[in-house]
């Protein structure tokens, strides 16, 4: 049985609905229609009265989830695209993220953000917002890169008593397949996706796969590149990153978000300040370019990091 990343997300929601009567789903077109990407396909039929089509009101969608969570429900909110969470931004960072700290009342909500670029999607259907949300206290930011993580981490998100921003990557929805869900790994732990000894690539989400391909390319040149999949960008598993850098002495951080600040800067700042002496070469980072995300595939391919420029960066890093 081969399962896609997208199906894993559906299955996790199925399982959550089955396990816990307090779970409900709220989002645009997610009921009968099954969602713009079909991540909730059939769920409204399988769980009548638990899956709701919302008005186009991202602010109110998050606000209502917070209110519901206060009452013991465990809402899963689907944003149709991560990009539209910008209009629910205030409720996420100021209402949901502060509730527990302010009032001692936990806020168990899961916000699914279909994230990242795909060809032809353009500036408003391609964004990666993990770095924005991670800046704020009170949120957990998950960025699954595999079918297994998509399943287990989503299931776990719904159990966490805090607001979770679940950044699922649209590019992986149909492309990525696995034979099953395997075993869960704890949230907050990074994973050595590929062991190596010559350099470490720290990455997450869709860029994991580009990085793995680059590592494979470099194997042909005789290099063993270790690839660390962050899995969650907040909390970030600094220990695993440092342990890898301790082995390799070289660090490249790859992310699909915009270049200023964000995950890649955070990883480099941690490694540089906490394990400076482990570095044999200056740490490097690779992000998308500092413009909106282009609609035309020719431009889009050049805007985000690719296997080719990850490889090139690695060669540069290894030459140092």
């Amino acid at each position: 049985m081969s399962i896609t990343y997208l199906e894993a997300i559906r299955e996790a929601q199925y399982e959550a609905l089955r396990e816990n009567p307090n779970v409900f789903l709220y989002g645009q077109d997610i009921s009968t229609f099954g969602g713009a990407f079909k991540a909730t396909k059939n769920l409204s039929r399988e769980f009548p009265g638990r899956v709701f089509d919302s008005p186009i009101s991202e602010d109110a969608m998050i606000g209502m989830a917070v209110g519901a969570a206060v009452e013991g429900a465990r809402p899963i909110i689907e944003m149709q695209f991560a990009d539209f969470s910008s209009v629910g931004f205030n409720q996420i960072i100021n209402q949901a993220a502060t509730l527990y700290w302010r009032t001692n009342t936990p806020c168990p909500i899961t916000i699914r953000l279909p994230s990242g670029g795909t060809p032809g999607s353009g500036p408003f259907h391609s964004q990666s917002m993990e770095s924005i949300y991670a800046h704020y206290p009170g949120l957990v930011i998950l960025t699954p890169a595999t079918v297994e993580d998509a399943y287990w981490m989503l299931l776990e998100s719904i159990k966490i008593n805090d607001p979770v921003i679940f950044c699922e990557h649209k590019f992986l929805y149909y492309h990525l397949k696995a034979e099953g869900f395997g075993d869960p790994m704890p949230i907050g732990k990074a994973r050595i996706a590929r062991p190596g000894r010559d350099a470490t690539v720290v990455t997450y989400s869709a860029m994991l796969h580009e990085s793995l391909k680059a590592a494979e390319e470099l194997r042909l040149d005789g290099y063993e590149v270790e690839v660390v999949d962050l899995r969650s960008v907040k909390p970030m598993d600094t220990d695993t990153i440092l342990a890898s850098v301790a082995r390799t002495g070289r660090l490249l951080v790859v992310g699909e978000a915009f270049p200023w600040g964000g995950v890649t800067a955070e990883v480099i700042a941690r490694v540089s300040s906490e394990a400076f002496h482990l570095l044999d070469a200056p740490p490097m980072r690779l992000n998308s370019k500092d413009t909106p995300i282009p609609y035309h595939p020719n431009l889009w391919k050049a805007h985000r990091p690719t296997t080719a420029n990850i490889s090139a960066s690695l060669r540069q890093l290894l030459r140092y």
Binding site: A60, V66, A73
Partner: protein, 332 residues
């Protein structure tokens, strides 16, 4: 007669609220003791308390806003919680982390507003939504309020529209006190009356003289009954005037001294005292006694809260998540 009882209960809440707020105002002006700003509900007590009195602490859901001290008291919030919050002691519901008008106890259905106007409406709606989903809505009702200025926010629109689509038992008070900080309503909306918005949301609308306690009580009585009976959100617009500055730092010199606000500018508490006497429901002496009781209660709360500890940064856990295992060990 039931109305008489409600009336007197509400009047006493108004008296307590006014007394408490006068204390807070004078503590603020004296300086040094109050933490943060002081934003009072003077002139809005009749309207606010008339909503609050219809709510049951621990059963209903309430999301009060800036000027709802009277409603909070009517809902059942102890004066001590207020005092503790304003004095910034750790025993208050917000543990000195957040302040004053932001206080609440979500675990008992008493929502704690954030500053961003309009954003609480959907939260109250969500609480009701969850209860219905869990099959324990029963005769629960929710209530929240907003000012004339807050109606211009997208959050208010989205929240009310969503509540209407979900047909939730929610009463939304709009306290039209003619100003949003210094901004007069002419710069805030262009409709005749904010109650004209009800039909566009498909909710039932009421307009009431917010300076008249009897009218307020009767109107909210209808609105809450309709909400509880399953007729969806109810919008009650109160015409009144903010009797004071936006906050105690503000002298409201921008409020023109015109006839325009003559009626709205009546002090609802003075009006209610007269009304109660005219109706033969209370004597001046009784009312005086209630004021005295209120003062005792406020003084007691102040005395108690004043003895309690302010927060110690070294004892704070500095954790924004409820799951300890997910907290990052940064800066430690």
């Amino acid at each position: 007669m039931e109305l008489r009882e409600d009336y007197l209960r509400t009047l006493r809440c108004m008296i307590l609220s006014r007394t408490l707020e006068e204390k807070l105002g004078s503590l603020y002006r004296a300086g040094g003791r109050i933490v943060g700003g002081v934003y009072l509900g003077r002139g809005q007590e009749a309207f606010s308390a008339s909503a609050g009195i219809h709510l049951r602490w621990g059963k209903d859901v309430y999301g009060p806003l800036i000027r709802d001290q009277a409603g909070r008291i009517a809902f059942g919030e102890p004066v001590l919680d207020t005092m503790r919050t304003y004095l910034g002691v750790v025993t208050g519901p917000m543990r000195a982390r957040d302040g004053n008008i932001h206080r609440g106890r979500p675990e008992v259905g008493y929502m704690a507003m954030i500053s961003h106007l309009g954003s609480l409406l959907s939260v109250v709606a969500g609480a009701l939504f969850a209860r219905r989903l869990q099959g324990r809505l029963g005769d629960t009702v929710g209530a929240t309020s907003i000012g004339d200025g807050g109606t211009s926010t997208g959050a208010f629109h989205e929240g009310l529209n969503m509540a209407a689509v979900e047909k939730l038992p929610l009463v939304v008070s709009i306290a039209n006190n003619q100003f949003a900080y210094s901004t007069p309503t002419a710069r805030q909306y262009a409709c005749e009356s904010l109650v004209d918005r009800a039909v566009g949301y498909g909710v039932e609308g009421y307009s009431v003289d917010g300076t008249d306690l009897l009218a307020c009580l009767e109107t909210f009585h209808k609105a809450f009954a309709r909400a509880r009976a399953g007729h969806g959100p109810q919008m009650v617009v109160g015409r009144l005037l903010r009797l004071g500055g936006h906050g105690e730092h503000d002298d409201a010199s921008y409020v023109p001294n015109t006839k325009k606000y003559e009626h709205e500018g009546r002090d609802c508490l003075a009006v209610a005292q007269m009304q109660a006497q005219e109706l033969g429901w209370a004597t001046e002496a009784e009312i005086d006694e209630w004021f005295k009781e209120a003062r005792r209660e406020v003084d007691k709360a102040q005395a108690q809260a004043s003895k309690e500890p302010t927060p110690d940064p070294y004892r704070e856990n500095w954790r924004a998540l409820s799951t300890p295992g997910l907290v990052e060990g940064m800066n430690e």
